[in-house]
């Protein structure tokens, strides 16, 4: 064995203890038997509501799909992040190219634990860090609904990620820090009942915080600035503050918020834009009571000033 080889062996032995701990800590955590039993039989009719609330089609339909094509979950959308480019996979019920061969338990582990049937971690570009707060029964209903959608042939392209982000195992440590199925905010005792229903929709399936909350450099959400607005993941823009704090939407009534989610028009009849257009189209598919619940929750969350830096005065031609 050459010197390099000996050094390498020594390093492995020395580092071994720490590495073993890291290996252990990064292991995927699956649902236990009790949680699996709680899934129950899915109801496809109820699952359609969860499908729109969850916005699956915004990422998993082919980019720019309209109408019925939004139900063809062929994948292919590219999500550009500081860690690399993720490509949404085919999650149609196609047995080979989609998830048609999965069991409900496989699907629940993906949605609630971010773990694949092969036991690997998913990247949080798939917003399971919100979906983990979903009710088991809703997961089962959603799965039953998705099975009724068209099976689409063809796998989407792979992700383009550099080292170390291409190593899925490392995500286990990230998950230990940031994956929690606890509610994000504690609503005041007097908060209206439908604000609690709204909390579930926003913090769980709706995953509103994934865009509207600023992130740490590690990619974890700054929960103490929940929904305070953030620099957009892609491009030059921002995602607005949707709390009642300074710069936010405190001057919108609950009715204004519900109406925006239904029609895409703000109270002063500006129109929705950017990545919110797809979200709003999904919200428009929900029963009115759900939009009102989301509005009640947004009126009840702790107010924060904008979670993104103020823009420098524009420099024309600069």
């Amino acid at each position: 064995m050459g010197l390099i080889g000996k050094l390498a062996v020594a390093a492995v032995l020395l580092g071994g203890a720490g590495a073993a701990v890291a290996w252990f800590l990064s292991a995927p955590v699956l649902l236990d038997a009790e949680a699996v039993a709680a899934l129950g039989e899915g109801d496809a009719t109820k699952g359609e509501r969860i499908f729109w609330a969850g916005g699956c089609t915004s990422c998993h339909a082919r980019p720019k799909s309209e109408g019925p094509a939004r139900l063809e979950l062929a994948g292919g959308l590219e999500l550009k992040t500081p860690f690399g480019t993720f490509v949404a996979p085919n999650i149609s019920p196609h047995p080979q190219d989609g998830i048609g061969g999965w069991s409900l338990e496989d699907f629940a582990n993906a949605m609630l634990r971010g773990v694949s049937p092969a036991g690997e971690h998913y990247y949080p570009a798939f917003p399971y860090s919100s979906y983990t707060r979903m009710q088991p029964a809703d997961i089962a209903d959603l799965y039953a609904f998705m099975k009724t959608l068209p099976a689409v042939e063809g796998k989407a392209a792979g992700h383009q990620l550099g080292f170390p982000f291409n190593i899925r195992r490392g995500l286990g440590l990230w998950k230990r820090l940031y994956l929690s199925d606890e509610p994000v905010v504690v609503l005041a005792d007097g908060a209206p009942e439908n604000a609690r229903a709204g909390q579930y929709l926003v913090e769980g399936p709706g995953h509103c915080g994934e865009c509207h909350t600023p992130r740490q450099f590690t990619g974890g959400l700054k929960k103490d600035q929940w929904l305070a607005g953030a620099v957009a993941a892609e491009g030059d823009g921002i995602v607005p503050n949707i709390t009642s704090g300074e710069g936010g939407i405190g001057d919108w009534s609950g009715g204004d918020i519900a109406s925006f989610l239904e029609t895409g028009f703000t109270p002063d009849f500006d129109s929705v834009g950017g990545s919110m257009v797809a979200v709003q189209k999904n919200m428009a598919m929900l029963p009115a009571a759900d939009r009102e619940a989301i509005a009640a929750y947004l009126k009840a969350v702790p107010p924060h000033p904008n979670g993104y830096p103020a823009r420098q005065p524009a420099q024309p031609g600069g």
């Binding site: 957009a232 491009g235 030059d236 823009g237 921002i238 995602v239 607005p240 710069g247 109406s259 029609t263 895409g264 028009f265 002063d268 009849f269 500006d270 129109s271 929705v272 834009g273 950017g274 990545s275 257009v277 797809a278 709003q280 103020a310 823009r311 524009a314 420099q315 024309p316 031609g317 600069g318």
Partner: protein, 145 residues
């Protein structure tokens, strides 16, 4: 290079005095869109009674605004900079942007030709026209504050 483009576009603009400040002009046009959509919205929401003349007037405003969307004059090169929320994608994909403008023109003209006759129909028309607003803002506008 950018200065040169600016100089050229400034020269080009000198010829079309109506658009002395294209950013301000296009924003005013959009504000008028918002106002007209708001009038339809008030009727759709039942805040104001159905009034066929008011509906037709609002639709006519939208259609006239759409007709005024002369992309070359209102979105000259270099005007992605400044006090604007126009996305650079407009200049990367002029044909795509023009297609959105054309659809907006066609849809508003069609609405004027066959205006809605009751509140339910106003809702439907506003919904369809709203897809134009959102459909263009989705790709070609970015919120910056």
């Amino acid at each position: 290079m950018r200065k040169l483009i600016l100089a050229i576009s400034a020269l080009a603009l000198a010829g079309t005095a109506a658009f002395a400040d294209p950013i301000a002009d296009r924003k005013a046009l959009m504000k008028a869109n918002g106002k007209a959509a708001g009038q339809l919205g008030a009727i759709a929401k039942g805040e104001q009674p159905f009034d066929a003349a008011a509906v037709l007037a609002a639709l006519t405003t939208l259609s006239e605004d759409a007709a005024k969307m002369d992309v070359a004059a209102l979105f000259p090169a270099g005007t992605d900079q400044g006090d604007t929320t126009a996305s650079p994608k407009i200049w990367e994909d002029m044909a795509g942007f023009q297609a959105k403008v054309d659809k907006f023109k066609a849809d508003t003209a069609a609405a004027v030709a066959a205006p809605p006759q009751d509140v339910e129909a106003v809702k439907a028309t506003l919904g369809a026209l709203g897809q134009n607003c959102g459909g263009c803002h989705e790709t070609f506008r970015i919120k910056k504050s």
